[in-house]
Every structure is written in C-alpha cells, then in structure tokens.
C-alpha cells in the first residue's frame, strides 16, 4: 500500500479507536464545557471592566480585542482536542517504556505520537472561539473578502503549527529528564498571555512574547489578518516561524531519539 494512503488509513483507525474509548467517559464533556465557560467568562469580565471605563487596550477596540480572545479560545480548544492528549502522553510513554512499541512500528514515530488520539471534548471550545472571532471581526468592521479569509485561515494554521511545535519540543525533553510535565504547565501559563492583544503589554514583555515565546504569532497576528489590517511582511514572517519551528521539532525529536536509543534500558 502506498505511503500517504497507509498514513491516512492509520489516522482514521487512530481517531476511530480514540473516539470509541473517549465515549466511555461522557462526564468529560461536561467538565470541559464548564472549564471553557469559566475561562471565557473571566476573560470577558476583564475586557468589560477595562473598556467599561472608556479605556482602550494598546490601541485595540473592544471588538478587535474580542477577536484575539476568540482565537485564543480556539487554540485552547485545539490543545484540548489534539495537543494535550497526544503530547501529554509522550512523558508516560517514556516513563513506562511503551515508547519501545512505537519505535518498533514501521511508521514515523513523530506522526504516531502526535496524532495517536483525539479528544472530542475540546470541539465545543473550537466552535465557540471561531464564532467569537468571526462575529467580533464583523462588528469591528472587517469586510470579508477572499484575501482576508485566506490570510486569516493561513495565519490560524501557522499559529496552530507554532503551538504544536513548541509543545512537542518541550515534551521531547522528557527523553532526557523523564519528568518535564512542569515545563509544559509553565508554557501554558505563559501562553495565556495570548488572550489579549500583544500591544496591551509593556514593551519588555512585548519583545519577550514576540521573540522568545511566539505568543504574538499565536493570536495577535492571526487576529490582525482576520481584521484585514495586517501587512504582508508579518504574514510571511509568521509562515516562516511556523515552518522553521516545525522543522526544528522534527530535528529535535531525531536528536532525542538518538540519545534514547543509546541509553535506555
């Protein structure tokens, strides 16, 4: 069977079996939805407090800031659906030695580890984020044209790729340190800065969130694209960062595997 077809069939089996096993735990849906309502409510309250006093947030109107919050919610949904269930399991694979089974399969191990399971409970969050972002953009006066939609979709895809790569690289470090779960919690906390437009932060943090942690590329840049006010150079830069970080994650995984396979017992 040809390569891509085999991967596609494997992915279907992966997700089919994952959905079947998730359905054993229906209560999770309720918990995820409640967590989303709580998070979103808190952020909305804060925005309402700021804008209610007639202040602005780094030059962003309330509607424009809501686009950023919408994208943040969407990314959080993607994390719950795909990133956390898969990348979180890497540490367990390393601790319990079941990574061996993955490495013995004639299939790319990064593909296996990144797509092995899916958790449907984050889907409502993705939908909510999308509705919030699009609705707020229309309120803010964005005119949906081909370029805006294409640019927005491309930037969203870039931000998902960047988030995935960052997370995967951190999970990979578990090969050396075994317990790195705290690191990904720090990452989550830092990324929650992405709820608000990047220009709302002081200059120092702004640099940190653009250069060191690509928070700006996760939410602010896609929001600008959806609002139809981003420049071509930012779009290109974002694409470059996405491609670069994805390639880096692949290289880093190979590097870690070399150490795993020469040291594990």
């Amino acid at each position: 069977m040809a390569g891509p077809l085999r991967y596609w069939r494997t992915l279907k089996r992966f997700w089919g079996s994952a959905l079947a096993s998730q359905m054993e735990y229906q209560i999770n849906l309720l918990i995820e939805v409640l967590a989303m309502v709580g998070n979103l409510g808190g952020s909305l309250l804060l925005l309402w407090l700021i804008y209610g006093r007639g202040q602005s947030l780094g030059g962003w109107s309330l509607e424009a800031a809501l686009v950023v919050l919408g994208i943040y919610t969407l990314l959080d949904g993607v994390s719950s659906t795909l990133l956390r269930p898969n990348l979180g399991a890497i540490v367990t694979h390393v601790q319990q030695g079941t990574l061996d089974f993955v490495l013995l399969k004639p299939i790319d191990s990064q593909f296996w580890l990144s797509s092995r399971t899916i958790s449907p409970w984050g889907l409502p969050e993705i939908a909510t984020g999308l509705v919030l972002a699009i609705g707020a953009a229309l309120h803010a006066g964005a005119r949906p044209g081909v370029a805006t939609i294409l640019g927005g979709a491309l930037m969203l895809a870039s931000s998902v790729v960047i988030l995935y790569s960052l997370w995967f690289v951190l999970a990979t470090t578990s090969i050396w340190f075994v317990k790195t779960w705290n690191v990904t919690e720090v990452l989550r906390a830092a990324l929650s800065a992405g709820r608000y437009p990047i220009s709302a932060f002081p200059a120092g943090l702004r640099t940190l969130f653009t250069v060191v942690l690509p928070v700006a590329f996760l939410t602010t840049v896609p929001a600008e694209a959806i609002l139809g006010r981003s420049s071509g150079s930012w779009l290109l830069l974002s694409l470059a960062v996405a491609t670069g970080s994805l390639l880096f994650s692949c290289w880093f995984w190979r590097l870690a595997l070399r150490d795993y396979t020469s040291a594990s017992s």
Binding site: M1, R6, R9, T10, K12, R13, F14, G16, S17, A20, S21, E24, Q96, G97, T98, D100, F101, L103, L104, K105, P106, I107, W112, T261, S262, A263, S264, S265
Partner: protein, 327 residues
C-alpha cells in the same frame, strides 16, 4: 544462512553514582558522578532461520539489553548485529516489518478498548488490507483459543487472556523473527502451558525464528533445543540443555539408603557429601569415578537402595548465578 548474527556485541551504560541520604543527594545534585556498567560484554552467536533458542541468565545478566539491541531499540556500544539482513539500530521499515518484540511486563493494547480495536490500528500501521487482517486475526485467534475476549475491553481481561491478545497483536504482521522477553511472566501454570504450545505451533507453521527469555525453565525445556546462557554479561554456554547440565555439574548425584546409620566422616573418601541424615546419604561423585565409587560403596557398606541421577538443572543454574553474585 543465519538470520540473527551477533558479533562481539556489547553494551555499556552510564549510571549515576549516588550515595543514600540527604547529604548524598545534595552532593549528587552539585557534582554528578557516573560510572560505566557493562551490561553485555562481547557476546557472539548466530541463529539459523526457524530455530527456537532459549536465552537464560539471572536478572541483570544482559538478556533484555541484548534483545533490545537485536530489535534495534538501542545502539550497541561495541560489536555488531545483523537481523534478517538488516542492521537493527537503523530501524528501517523493511526490517521492522520482519520482526516483533513481546515484553511480558509492558503492553501495547489500548486499555479501555477491546483488543480488536488495537488490532485494527496495527493492521493499518503495517498496511494490511481488511480481508488479510481479518483472515490473520481469525487464524491466530483460533490458535490462541481467543474468541469473545477480542471484543471485551482489555481492562476486563485476565492476565492470561491479555497476554494471548498481546501475542496476537505482536504477530499480526507475520514477522519472521520473534524476540520474546518473559512472555509467560506472572501467568499460572495452565496459561503458561497454552502460551508455550502456541509458540511451538506458530514456529512449526510459519517457520519463524524465536529467541525467548524466561524465568520459568519449563518454557525453555519445552520449547528450545538450543540454549544461550548469559552470565555476568558474557556468553557462558551455547548448546543444548543437556550439555549445559553436564558442563555445570561434572558430578552426578548418588543417593544411598543404608541398613545402619554411619557417621558423616566415613563418606569423605567416596565423594563430596551433600547430606547425611541418619541412614539417608547424598553424595556428589565425579562422572569419571562413578562406576568405581558405586562398586566400592556396594562392597564397603550395607546398602539397602542406591540411585544415581543428574542434579536438577534449576539448582545447577541457580548455583552458578549465586556464585556470580558472591564474586
């Protein structure tokens, strides 16, 4: 032609050297000390296609490390290996399709789902079409005596049923080479016997090569005409179990039942006294002197019964391992 070849294969691990207690922990945190531990030291052997070979050795002798090097999970520190015409640690897809590794203490089946779901995943990974996969699952399930267990969540299966399902998952792609690390670990006697007869059957039908480690010597005696014994990282024996036992015990065990009890000192001139309990005496006698000693015993003493046997192999191997621990 040999399907598995190990040439002076060796593996050295770096392990952290840490003293117990808080002070030791702090010192370890500030200044790491490492020492090299040789798990496998220059082991060479070759196995022909279709052979079933038992791999013996105490815990930590290097059995699992060797299996992991042969299956490509870890790189050798020295020497080389070749399995099915490939260098294992390159883990090329063509190589991975030809081998399988079953680990008694690890499982690949999805815990919450019936084994059938995991089997379908494996079928897709190995690129088997539905008809082929179904055919193989049915065939293996019949050999393993698995039926409705395949549609029950794994967490609800007994250990024996789970191990059989693990074997099914590991063999779905019809590997030519099977590395089995303690496949009967923790199973009761009946389940062990069933796994054993399945492996013999599978080897016969598929002509597969099997390299098997087990704590249960019964697995090895039942399945493996040839035994590799690893001791302290090196290959101690390569041959049949019978040869191993004569090598480990150049002595035979002579049991005597006497008419009258005799003091222990009387037996020193016949051989090594193992036990002297009144009228029951057990002596270890060198093989070459056996007939001579027996004749003298019968002549010198009033013997009611006499029996000559090999010391049990478990005991011999156990004694070898204990000597290793002391040394």
């Amino acid at each position: 032609m040999a399907i598995i070849r190990a040439e002076r294969l060796s593996k050295t691990y770096r392990v952290a050297d840490k003293q117990p207690g808080l002070a030791g922990t702090l010192r370890h945190f500030v200044q790491r000390r490492h020492r090299d531990v040789a798990a496998v030291k220059g082991v060479s052997f070759s196995i022909e296609a279709g052979e079933m070979v038992g791999f013996l050795g105490p815990n930590g002798a290097g059995k699992t490390t060797t299996l992991k090097m042969l299956s490509g999970l870890i790189h050798p520190s020295g020497g080389s290996a070749e399995v099915a015409g490939h260098i294992p640690q390159r883990r090329q897809a063509d190589f991975l399709r030809q081998i399988t590794l079953v680990m008694g203490q690890k499982q690949q089946l999805i815990w919450d789902l019936p084994p059938l779901d995991s089997l379908r995943v494996n079928a897709a990974v190995y690129g088997l079409d539905d008809a082929t996969a179904r055919h193989r699952i049915n065939e293996l399930a019949e050999m393993l005596e698995l039926g409705e267990e395949l549609t029950r969540p794994v967490r609800k299966l007994s250990l024996g049923q789970r191990m059989k399902a693990e074997l099914l998952a590991a063999l779905l792609h019809q590997p030519a080479v099977l590395f089995l690390d303690e496949p009967t670990l923790g199973l009761d006697i009946n389940a062990q016997a069933r796994v054993r007869s399945f492996l013999a059957d599978y080897n016969r039908r598929q002509g597969a090569t099997v390299l098997l480690t087990s704590h249960y010597l019964a697995d090895i005696t039942a399945l493996c005409p040839r035994v590799l014994l690893i001791h302290e990282g090196g290959l101690f024996h390569d041959g049949s179990l019978r040869e191993l036992s004569s090598r480990l015990a150049p002595c035979r065990l002579v049991r005597l039942e006497l008419e009258q009890p005799r003091p222990a000192a009387d037996f020193a001139r016949y051989g090594e006294l193992e036990a002297c309990d009144g009228r029951d005496v057990r002596l270890l006698v060198e093989r070459e002197r056996l007939t001579d000693v027996v004749a003298r015993l019968l002549a010198d003493l009033e013997v009611r019964d006499l029996e000559v046997s090999d010391p049990p192999i478990e005991e011999l191997i156990g004694r070898l391992f204990r000597q290793g621990e002391v040394a």
